[in-house]
């Protein structure tokens, strides 16, 4: 066979690749490995793992298709890409499930071995799409991935059935060749990962190399490509997912506060990886407690907070429902507590593995009584790190539960992250009570658990162990100052208003919202929150590329809002609020600022596409 290695690769500025196969085909791993080697090459990137809730849905069916989309580029990018340029389909179901999002002219690489009669029927194809002409507007490459993998593994004494499992590494090898990725990181990773199973390591390595060589030596592909490194700011980078950054952010927050970290949690998709990551990090003094249920998870976190630890609980929507009562207690106890809600499609069990932003109003109002708490939202996978520190800072400073909203897209999505300067992280001051804080009429010094700091309105945090500060707190209304049980109506009114004022006062202690308004002449403002950051910023870029002006402001504090938000909104003629829900932030800003906010909504379980944001901005501009 002729080798084409003398052909230099064609340069591309960016490419979006989607790996798709059965849940058991290892597509997440394949995508993840491709991402890592791209990160090491210096590309900017964003990923979008998209997998079913079932661990192993029936093989070969549409329901069982698991996909991983990765966007790599030689410049700064913001989203995992609206549509793939390349689809790698390991079977007919993977092709059928994903062909709809593929633009005409895109490249399709299929594992042709999997396109037998039975698999085609399972996927719902009446005719073979590879032969019936239905794919004529795509560049289709048919590669016998399974059989070549089996062939190269046979030489290593691996049985065909076992070898078949390595075919995802063949696909990875092939795509690595196609985009000129180095092989060493993956080969090294396989050796390390499968060190205790040498035969599996051997099979995977052979499959990976066979895929790479297949691209190199066959005439099938006309050319191959290169996506050069993106011009990153100087610094040290790692690739992180949102859940990983969040777990690390909690460790960092505990360090900044000088508090031991206690996580009370119950396994739930897509939040469990935070529990997993923290439970591996006991050398940081982290205590993780897998509770009997969601209620016990938050209860134990609150108990730990009472004892002077940083109490954290992690969950997703259904779990947040269950934690509401305990959050209400924490509001009355006025103890620090961090509640992390990795949002997913709801209501009820909803779409466990798909993303949504529909818990905002729940976080805001999902408790009985007047029960305000701060809400912080993460914008990107790496921003989860900062968001965890900020949520902790507010919780500890104001002695209040804080809800941190992440979501399925951030949780599993990865991006390069420039490591922060750890010396510049905010210092969080627990300021435990050390002695009496009140002088009684008779001159004796006593401790009043509900005496307040004048600036923050926070009460003292007095963990057990200090003589003279013994006190009892509880869910019953507290008398201002003494903290004794009080049913006095005037006291209740006072306490309700103080608790509200304490939270709303935080608006002056958080960063003002920053407006990205290139020339200062935009009339349309796009206001987003949380994980829509990338899609909105990309959509805004597209509009600007047309020579039009549009402004973008993005909220990471949802309660209270930054103090300048009202002024910002008043400066623009039109405000567009894109959300992956049916309009929750838009309701809040309408109610609070009487602004005629336009909602842009979708709840497909996927992030917005930049093109959708662009189109909505343009149509708002055209509107009379």
């Amino acid at each position: 066979m002729a080798t084409k290695s003398e052909h230099p690769p064609e340069q591309l500025d960016r490419v979006v690749i989607r790996f798709a196969g059965d849940s058991g085909d290892g597509m997440q791993l394949t995508g993840d490995r491709f991402t890592t080697s791209s990160a090491l090459l210096g590309n900017d990137l964003a990923t979008f793992p998209d997998f079913p809730a079932e661990i192993r849905a029936p093989a070969g069916t549409l329901a069982g298709v698991s996909a991983f989309q990765v966007h790599i580029s030689d410049h700064d990018i913001l989203t995992p890409g609206d549509a793939p340029n390349v689809l790698v389909a390991m079977n007919p179901a993977a092709l059928r499930a994903n062909i709809g999002v593929l633009p005409k002219g895109a490249t399709v690489v299929v594992n042709v071995d999997a396109f037998d009669e039975r698999s085609l029927t399972k996927a719902g194809y009446e005719a073979n799409p590879l032969t019936d002409g239905s794919l004529s507007s795509y560049s289709v490459y048919e590669v016998p991935m399974t059989s070549i993998t089996q062939e190269v593994c046979k030489e290593a004494g691996v049985k065909p059935r076992d070898a078949e499992r390595s075919k995802n590494f063949f696909a990875l090898g092939l795509v690595s060749w196609l985009y000129t990725r180095p092989t060493e990181p993956t080969v090294g990773w396989i050796a390390k990962r499968f060190a205790d199973r040498p035969q599996v390591a051997e099979a995977n390595t052979r499959a990976f190399r066979a895929g790479f060589d297949f691209g190199e030596t066959t005439e099938l592909f006309e050319s191959h490509y290169e996506v050069r490194a993106a011009p990153f700011e100087p610094g040290e980078y790692v690739q992180v997912t949102g859940n990983q950054a969040l777990a690390w952010g909690l460790i960092a927050a505990a360090r900044q506060a000088g508090l031991p970290l206690f996580l009370g949690s119950y396994p739930i998709t897509p939040a469990s990886d935070i529990l997993h990551e923290l439970s591996r990090r006991k050398e940081f003094g982290v205590r993780t407690f897998q509770a009997e249920d969601e209620i016990a998870g938050v209860g134990a976190a609150l108990g730990a907070a009472f004892g002077g630890a940083l109490g954290v609980t992690t969950t997703s929507g259904p779990g947040l429902d269950l934690k509401s009562e305990t959050i209400g207690l924490a509001i009355n106890l006025e103890l620090p507590l961090v509640i992390i809600d990795v949002q997913r499609g709801g209501p009820s069990t909803g779409l466990p593995t798909k993303t949504e932003q529909a818990d905002l109003l729940h976080a805001m109002y999902g408790r009985h009584g007047e029960a305000p708490i701060p809400i912080v939202a993460a914008m990107t996978p790496s921003h989860c790190f900062d968001a965890a520190i900020e949520a902790t800072r507010l919780a500890v400073t104001y002695r209040t539960p804080v809800i941190l909203l992440s979501d399925g897209y951030l949780a599993n999505g990865a991006e390069p992250w420039k490591l922060p300067n750890l010396d510049a992280l905010p210092v969080i001051e627990p300021g435990f009570a050390t002695g009496p804080n009140h002088t009684a009429d008779d001159g004796t010094q006593t401790f009043w658990p509900y005496e307040r700091d004048e600036r923050t309105l926070a009460r003292p945090w007095a963990p057990p162990g200090v003589a003279g500060l013994e006190h009892r707190i509880g869910g019953l209304e507290k008398a201002a100052g003494t903290g004794n049980v009080s049913y006095d109506p005037a006291n209740h009114e006072k306490m309700v208003r103080i608790r509200a004022a304490k939270i709303s006062g935080i608006s002056t202690d958080i960063a003002p919202v920053v407006v990205d308004d290139e020339h200062g002449d935009a009339t349309v403002l796009v206001l987003g929150w949380g994980s829509t950051f990338g899609a909105i910023a990309a959509g805004v870029r597209r509009v600007r590329a047309r020579g039009l002006s549009v402004a973008h402001a993005h909220l990471t504090h949802l309660n209270p809002f930054p103090a300048n938000l009202g002024d910002v909104l008043a400066r623009y003629q039109q405000v567009l609020v894109p959300e992956v829900n049916l309009g929750q932030l838009s309701r809040l800003v309408r109610a609070e600022f009487l602004v005629d906010a336009h909602s842009l909504n979708q709840v497909r379980g996927t992030p917005f596409r930049a093109a959708e944001i662009e189109a909505a901005i343009l149509s708002l501009m055209e509107a009379p």
Partner: protein, 340 residues
Amino acid sequence: MTTTAVPLTTRKDWTSDQEVRWCPGCGDYSILAAVQMLMPDLGVRRENTVFISGIGCAARFPYYMSTYGMHSIHGRAPAIATGLATTRPDLDVWVVTGDGDALSIGGNHLIHALRRNVKMTILMFNNQIYGLTKGQYSPTSEVAKVTKSTPFGSLDTPFNPVSLALGAEASFVARTHDMDRAHMQETFRRAHAHAGAAFVEVYQNCNVFNDGAFEKITSRDARSSMLIPLEHGQPIRFGADGERGVVQRADGRLEIVDVSEVGEDSLLVHDEARDDPGLAFALSRLARGPFEPTPIGVFRAVERPEYGAEMARQVVQAQERRGVGDLAALLRSGSSWTVG
């Protein structure tokens, strides 16, 4: 951590300034008095003592102790206490709960705290009724109980709290009652000294909604013939002159007999430290309710690793193996690359 001697205290030092607000005549008063009077004897510090409760009449208990305390939400006290006890092994954590709080809304937390063996002393006041909500039947009420919510009689089979705790792998299980301060104090002392989760059922009279529920066994006249004291290493016998006792039949069944008929040597000798909880369970089933001769005292007291200590051990081991966590190193634990 202070090394000075624990100061001598009296009941007054353990009593808060809050007015006690249970109904006059409620059994809770005598339990509170027993605890307040016991505390000076335990050699513990007020500032290192925490009472945590849920919701219900019993749950007001922490307000009356001059220690640290939390009156939390319905049923959740064991969960909250778990977070506190595992992060603060230097504290004495007490949970005060009732039959509705512990066995109904909080049943899940109770059984899991027991099976994990988290260091906490759980006092469950069992009055077989809902008091605070004014008289509905509880999960320990007898079948056919007529209450406001069951005018035609309740249908559910009650829990036997001691059986439940034993089934939940509890390492310490005891029963006492509000009419006998000395017995309460001895039982609480043992429970407090236990290195793990200790569960104590306290028969408690609710004189407003379920008056006399335990009268048949706990009244002064009835006690000797109706309460079967369990004493470790001793033959199980009761009656004014110890004339009755418990034997184990060949098929494993326990039976109450006249000692004169079987002879002293045939009596079952109580062994609270038995690894197998089967016999303790059988003892808990001896009475079908507080109208038959009922065992009181410590059913089971065995040693088992304590959860918080094990958690701390894992932290220490991880630090010994990998050194104390270094955040900068953690952030680089995957592959990192440098630009510029």
